[in-house]
């Protein structure tokens, strides 16, 4: 799956439209899930997903230099765009308590097996953090929480949250690079 995605992204980088269509077929549900999770609004997530695939088409030629796995690269394109949108749209935090929860589903088996090793690594390292700090990192990644939203969520001054999240990131780095 991963090799196939790499090949498809490289072909998209060469302007191969059928490859683009196939890449979309294989990855759009996952990336729509990512956009929906951060943006929490269907119509906005749909607009975002369009932009994401326009970016994928234009930036696919640069995929190889990132040294990333295709799944990571695609997830980063989608997340970065969704975060850009939500920060531009919502400089003020929404009331996190009112945000509807979107249920998690188990990842599909193929993806699970590809990602299992990597996932274990980040999960192991998150597991070494204090529970609330690991939860903050996950919340920021999955829900797109800003420092301001994390501060409201944990009832802490924003600078305090930033200090402890940065400390968590340093610990993570040490663990990930060990």
């Amino acid at each position: 799956m991963s090799d196939e995605l790499s090949r498809l992204i490289q072909r998209v980088g060469l302007g191969d439209r059928p490859a683009f269509r196939e890449l979309y077929r294989l990855t759009s549900a996952k990336l729509f899930g990512v956009c929906l999770r951060v943006l929490r609004e269907k119509s906005e997530a749909e607009d975002a997903l369009q932009e994401v695939y326009v970016k994928i088409w234009h930036n696919a030629g640069r995929f190889a230099v990132t040294g990333q796995s295709p799944v990571s690269w695609l997830a980063a394109v989608a997340r970065n765009h969704a975060i850009d949108r939500i920060r531009a749209r919502r400089p003020q935090a929404v009331d996190i308590g009112l945000v509807p929860e979107i249920a998690d589903a188990a990842p599909d088996p193929e993806q699970a097996s590809v990602a299992a090793g990597e996932r274990q690594r980040i999960e192991n390292c998150l597991g070494k953090l204090k529970a609330d700090r690991a939860e903050a990192v996950r919340g920021a990644y999955l829900e797109g929480y800003s420092y301001q939203e994390l501060a409201e969520r944990y009832s802490m001054p924003i600078n305090t949250v930033r200090t402890w999240l940065r400390r968590s990131l340093l610990q993570l780095r040490e663990c990930l690079q060990a």
Binding site: P18, E46, R166, L169, L172
Partner: protein, 231 residues
């Protein structure tokens, strides 16, 4: 992948915060500007994105609306001829053509073609299309790289041509050229095309402007498609 030691410690933290998405908007925009020119900083962002991406496994896939891909393609390829749906129609025709193969008593041209050929290293396919009336039998001799075509019935509309394609696996169709006007022809395929024909390859015919598709991919209706069968 560069290590954290290659950038100032503050930059590595900014890269991590950017990848995580927590930076306040002004800092986020400032960092994006730097990323355009600062390769080492970009490498640290890629490192962090790569490390964090497995967390996305917890996000459930959600099917986007069916029309979304067409919207994206309209934005990306506004002037392109309408190629949408070729694969869908191909699938349809594959199914139909396979069904026809079971029903049609293969007679005439195909039988003649086959009987003249050694039975090893050969493939046959029959392509039929009800709306256009096209009936095409093909025999491919893998050893000589020769594709023999017998158009039993069907001619393209005025100003149109029928174009023959080969599809190997998941790859995009590759043109084998416009069908010549003669009903029986033998095409000697260059090695790079010959390599694409074989078991599981699919032959397809599409309706194209005179002279063939301007894009290198099917632009008109796919009239018929069927897999090669080894004989």
């Amino acid at each position: 992948m560069t290590s954290a030691a290659d950038v100032p410690p503050e930059d590595d933290l900014l890269a991590a915060e950017y990848a995580l998405g927590v930076l306040p908007q002004a800092e986020r925009l400032a960092l994006q500007q730097r990323l355009a020119t600062d390769q080492e900083l970009a490498r640290r962002v890629w490192f962090w994105e790569e490390q964090m991406a497995p967390m996305a496994a917890a996000i459930a896939p959600v099917e986007p609306p069916a029309a979304l891909l067409a919207d994206v393609e309209r934005r990306l390829f506004p002037a392109a001829p309408e190629a949408a749906g070729w694969w869908e129609s191909l699938r349809f025709w594959q199914g139909l053509s396979a069904a026809l193969l079971c029903l049609v008593v293969i007679a005439g041209g195909l039988a003649v073609l086959v009987s003249r050929q050694p039975p090893v290293g050969g493939y046959v396919v029959e392509l039929s299309s009800t709306p256009s009336g096209l009936q095409l039998a093909a025999y491919y001799d893998a050893r000589s790289g020769t594709l023999k075509l017998n158009r039993v019935a069907g001619v393209p509309a005025a100003g149109r041509d029928y174009q023959l394609w080969v599809i190997a696996g998941q790859n995009p169709p590759v043109s084998l050229g416009v069908l010549p006007a003669d009903s029986v022809v033998a095409l000697k395929l260059p090695p790079q095309l010959a390599a694409k024909l074989g078991a599981k390859a699919v032959l397809a015919v599409s309706d194209e402007p005179k002279g063939g598709s301007p894009t290198g991919l099917p632009t008109g209706a796919v009239l018929a498609a069927a897999p090669l069968t080894a004989i």
